[in-house]
């Protein structure tokens, strides 16, 4: 289940945007939950895009998602930004958290906003899987 921004009760500021390495992840603690935060390259729109999903890899049961490789699958309508687990290489949709290689598995997705050059992650009701 994805927490929509209107249900966010708290925003946690984690770091300045320029602390993130483009196209890589960092792990952050958000309300005691480990979260993987990724900064994607500017795709030409001038918009800075940051995604946040659970740091916990459901396949290996270890907190490693932030160390995965960013990528994409598909083109046009089917285009998705992705992250691949560094452990057994399952690929997840960064926007929805859904596992694309083994359907039915999902990472929690967190809302992200940028305030004063800082990354903030939203949380409220405990985020959980579907």
């Amino acid at each position: 289940m994805t927490l929509t921004p209107d249900r966010v009760t708290t925003w946690t500021r984690i770091c300045p945007v320029d602390r993130l390495i483009p196209e890589r992840g960092v792990a952050a603690l958000v309300d005691s939950e480990p979260v993987a935060v990724f900064l994607l390259d500017d795709d030409g729109s001038g918009e800075v895009r940051v995604h946040a999903v659970a740091h916990h890899d459901p396949f290996s049961n270890a907190n490693v998602m932030a160390r995965g490789i960013i990528g994409s699958v598909g083109t046009g309508e089917d285009y998705r930004d992705t992250v691949a687990s560094p452990m057994y290489k399952q690929v997840f949709d960064l926007a929805t958290g859904q596992c694309l290689t083994e359907p039915g598995v999902c990472l929690s997705v967190y809302p992200v906003r940028l305030v004063d050059g800082h990354v903030e992650i939203g949380h409220g009701a405990p985020p959980s899987g579907p």
Partner: protein, 845 residues
């Protein structure tokens, strides 16, 4: 199984050579009900081995490497191999054979006793120093004789017989440094296989290699010196030749004595007479291979023998196979010279036409024999360049289609015509596999690559000469069946890794963004990103954690440690050649103890420290770097280790300093990024304690220098490395390895180890040797420069990371809580009490 078949029928096979092996393999493969129990009686001490490859035994091969097929065959249910067990008598009345003083009854008997070398009745042919060339033992004796002479001049040897076997023997002698003369009675070399022009071309090529050739020469006597050993040959024309050894390779005779004694009919020139089903006139007695006289003659080649073995296997299981006639085609590399002969090589068919191409300068002679309308291929002879053999031989009896001369021109002068082989064409003559069977393996059996087709059909698994053709057939069949034979790296790049490497190098692209923009789509993925990272690293651009390359790295390369199942990492400092000081051991041990790490000695002679959290890595490495260690690249698709034995420094048997060489090689190639991991090994003598032949590059010391082997690996599909070059000086060795590795780095596919690369490379190992050793592509200097650039540009990745605060800052558990230990990593592994956690060190940054 025995419960179901209370009485198994007993098959006795007399003889344990290649043909006997094929029979047992074919029979047990198909005898799924276990109807037969098989007893094989072999005179030699070894299980059946590849006699055709006997000469390779001289180039340092272990005799065990020659063993045929899977050793498991001899442990199959119902199969017994008796070695050192010559059969003394066959009793067809009582249906039993006598061996080792016992009697073995049979329900079916197969005589596969092969041949013996026919030594001409020349006086002195039995003196010490006179040899034949048939078994591993013959070859071992010959080698011992030739290499332990201790003369103040090169050993001089003569080979009597200029046929296949004689030239093989001459090659073996030459390889041992013997001054060799080939003496042939006929007016040309290989009189049975090649015509006059071919023989002349062959002579020219062989003389160029330093072998003397005397044709039309009859040997009248071999004389002994005062020590009773061979020391001179006298010829019928009165001339003499001083020699230290003589090898007789003057043909073979069938070993039919057991059959004669048993009253079986034999042919005019020997051999057990059999019909087209390989049956003798006596019930349930068959003869196969070189001892069988079929269609009125015996065959001294393995291919017809294999065909006979298949026929008998089929008959024993109730089939109705018959002998289709012998395929006498041959392709050999004799003394490095390609010779091939196939079909009607002498144009004996009525009205046959010959098309000849001869280039005496390049030493090439090629001839095609065509039907009188110049349409149908009947046969041919190829000397010097036999590359067209694999394509031409299966075309015998078929219409050639294209202008026949196109097949004869040197490679590159014109594109070789692509012929569509009929299904019936025999592609692999060793194993009798047709083009149709290969196509079927793809279209019906679901094979999707060369390896699969080889396993399924056995095509190309004996002599291997048909492999290029098999590969082509597999490729075109895959295309036909809609399987795209795509070399594309992934959905983002249409190019293969090798192609991508070339464009990045030629267009001088330095960043992933540029490469993606010019040659790819999307954002990339976990397949293409690490490949590009590896390519950029091989081309010497920057540190793995530089901003543009950091995004490409797999986590192992990104944190320069190996991810383990619980999310922690393992750390491996480099220990070049496995040589380490006591203080070094203490330092590593102290680090492990202080950080509570599990330690294990690796197969690559170094120490792996497990259980490090990401945030501990910089502190661990600070300690290691301070103690003089550097990254071991255990995490990378890169050079791992150069394993060594202790060598001449300590070992009583070592002939070279293997440790010193291993250290030098490891320091030279450390950090070299490659399509897959690379491992090297150096052994200080032929005992091979470093297991160098299981490495991508293995070096084994000789009295004169180093032998280098390439393409070995352990792992899922273990491979022995193959001999690449012999007796190199250290400088030549290093240049050879430089080029081999760099050529591999540039042209291999993603995750393709050297063994697979060698196999898939057009022309295989020989073609790679042409590039690396003879510089046939003219890229040698370029490869040398690339390696020099790598060596000069090397810096320790870990030391560089520690010196850069921005890079070091990336090693945190949580970006907003860097000192908080992540409970979702580590702690779940049972170390059997080996880890005594030391004081918990504060993580500094």
């Amino acid at each position: 199984m025995d419960e179901q078949h209370t009485v198994r029928r007993r098959l006795v096979v007399v003889g344990g050579g290649m043909v006997a092996h094929r029979l047992v393999e074919a029979l047990t493969d198909r005898d799924l009900d276990g109807a037969w129990q098989v007893d094989v009686f072999a005179e030699e001490s070894r299980p059946p081995y590849d006699r055709v490859a006997l000469t390779s035994f001289f180039s340092g091969r272990d005799p065990d490497d020659l063993l045929l097929g899977e050793p498991e065959l001899w442990h199959r249910d119902g199969v017994r191999l008796h070695t050192n067990a010559a059969v003394q008598r066959i009793d067809t009345e009582r249906r039993e054979v006598h061996a080792r003083g016992r009697r073995f009854p049979y329900d079916a008997l197969v005589i596969a006793t092969g041949s013996y070398p026919a030594v001409p009745p020349v006086p002195g042919s039995d003196l010490p120093g006179a040899f034949v060339y048939r078994t591993v033992d013959d070859v071992t004796e010959l080698r011992a004789w030739a290499t332990t002479r201790h003369l103040k001049r090169p050993v001089r040897g003569a080979v009597v017989g200029g046929g296949l076997l004689g030239l093989e023997a001459a090659g073996a002698l030459t390889a041992m440094g013997v001054e060799t003369t080939v003496v042939e009675f006929a007016p040309r070399l290989m009189p049975i296989q090649v015509d006059e022009g071919g023989g002349e071309g062959l002579r020219r090529l062989i003389e160029k290699l330093g072998v003397n050739v005397r044709t039309a020469t009859a040997t009248s006597k071999v004389r002994a010196g005062s020590n009773g050993r061979v020391n001179r040959m006298d010829f019928a024309d009165g001339s003499k030749l001083p020699v230290d050894l003589v090898v007789f390779a003057t043909g073979v005779r069938p070993r039919d004595e057991l059959a004669r004694e048993a009253g079986l009919p034999v042919g005019d020139r020997g051999g057990v007479v059999v019909d087209e089903t390989c049956a003798t006139g006596t019930p349930d007695v068959y003869a196969i291979g070189e001892v069988a006289c079929i269609e009125g003659r015996t065959w001294g080649l393995v291919a017809p023998g294999y065909t006979m073995a298949e026929i008998v296997a089929d008959r024993l299981l109730g089939g109705s196979a018959t002998f289709p006639g012998a395929d006498t085609s041959t392709k050999l590399k004799l003394l490095g010279v390609d010779v091939a002969s196939f079909g009607d090589a002498f144009a004996e068919s009525p009205g046959a036409l010959e098309v000849v191409y001869a280039d005496p300068v390049a030493g090439a002679y090629k001839k095609l024999v065509l039907s009188d309308d110049a349409q149908t291929l009947l046969g041919g002879v190829l000397v010097g360049d036999a590359s067209a053999y694999a394509s031409l031989r299966p075309m015998v009896g078929q219409k050639l289609g294209a202008d026949p001369t196109a097949w004869l021109l040197p490679e590159g002068a014109s594109a070789a015509p692509a012929a569509d082989l009929p299904d019936a064409a025999n592609v692999c003559s060793c194993n009798n596999v047709s083009a149709g069977a290969i196509r079927c393996a793809v279209s019906e059996e679901g094979c999707t690559d060369l390896a699969g087709v080889k396993a399924c059909t056995k095509a190309g698994t004996s002599c291997g000469s048909c492999l290029p053709l098999v590969k082509k057939l597999v490729g075109s069949e895959l295309e036909k069946s809609g399987v795209a034979v795509s070399n594309a790296l992934c959905e983002h790049f249409e190019l293969s890794r090798a192609q991508l490497f070339d464009v990045v190098r030629v267009q001088d692209l330095g960043t992933f963004s540029e490469i993606l923009e010019r040659h790819g789509t999307g954002r990339g993925c976990d397949i293409c990103r690490p490949v590009v990272a590896s390519i950029l690293a091989s081309l010497g651009t920057g540190h793995v954690l530089d901003r543009d390359t950091a995004r490409l790295q797999d986590t192992n390369d990104h944190v320069m440690a190996n991810l383990q199942k619980d999310g922690t990492y393992s750390v491996v400092p480099r220990v070049p050649g496995g040589e380490i000081t006591p203080q070094g051991l203490i330092d590593i041990g102290q680090v492990a103890s202080d950080f509570g790490l599990y330690t294990k000695i690796t197969g690559g002679q170094r120490i792996d420290l497990f259980g490090a959290r990401i945030e501990q890595l910089p502190s661990i490495w600070q300690r290691l770097v301070d103690a003089g260690f550097e990254s071991g690249h255990a995490y990378g698709k890169a050079l791992r280790t150069v394993k060594s034995c202790v060598g001449s420094q300590w070992c009583r048997y070592g002939v070279q300093d293997s440790v010193a060489l291993a250290i030098a090689l490891e320091l030279r190639y450390r950090g070299l990024r490659s399509p897959h991991k690379i491992k090297l090994g150096v052994s200080g003598c032929a005992r091979e304690c470093a297991e160098a032949r299981s490495k991508d590059v293995g070096v084994i010391a000789t009295e004169h220098g180093w032998n280098v082997y390439v393409g070995g690996n352990g792992g899922f599909t273990p491979r022995h490395a193959q001999l690449f070059a012999e007796d190199l000086s250290t400088d030549d060795l290093v240049r050879t390895i430089d080029r081999f590795l760099m050529y591999y780095v540039r042209t291999a596919d993603r995750l393709q180890r050297t063994a697979a690369w060698v196999e898939e490379h057009e022309g295989g190992l020989e073609a790679i040797a042409d590039v690396v050793i003879d510089d046939s592509l003219g890229i040698g200097a370029d490869l040398d420069a690339a390696m020099a650039c790598h060596v000069d540009g090397y810096v320790d990745e870990w030391a560089a990371t520690l010196a850069d605060p921005e890079k070091r800052a990336q090693f945190v558990s949580f970006v907003n809580a860097p000192d908080t230990q992540d409970d979702g990593v580590g702690g779940a592994i049972d170390n059997r009490g080996t880890v005594i956690a030391g004081p918990t060190l504060e993580v500094r940054r």
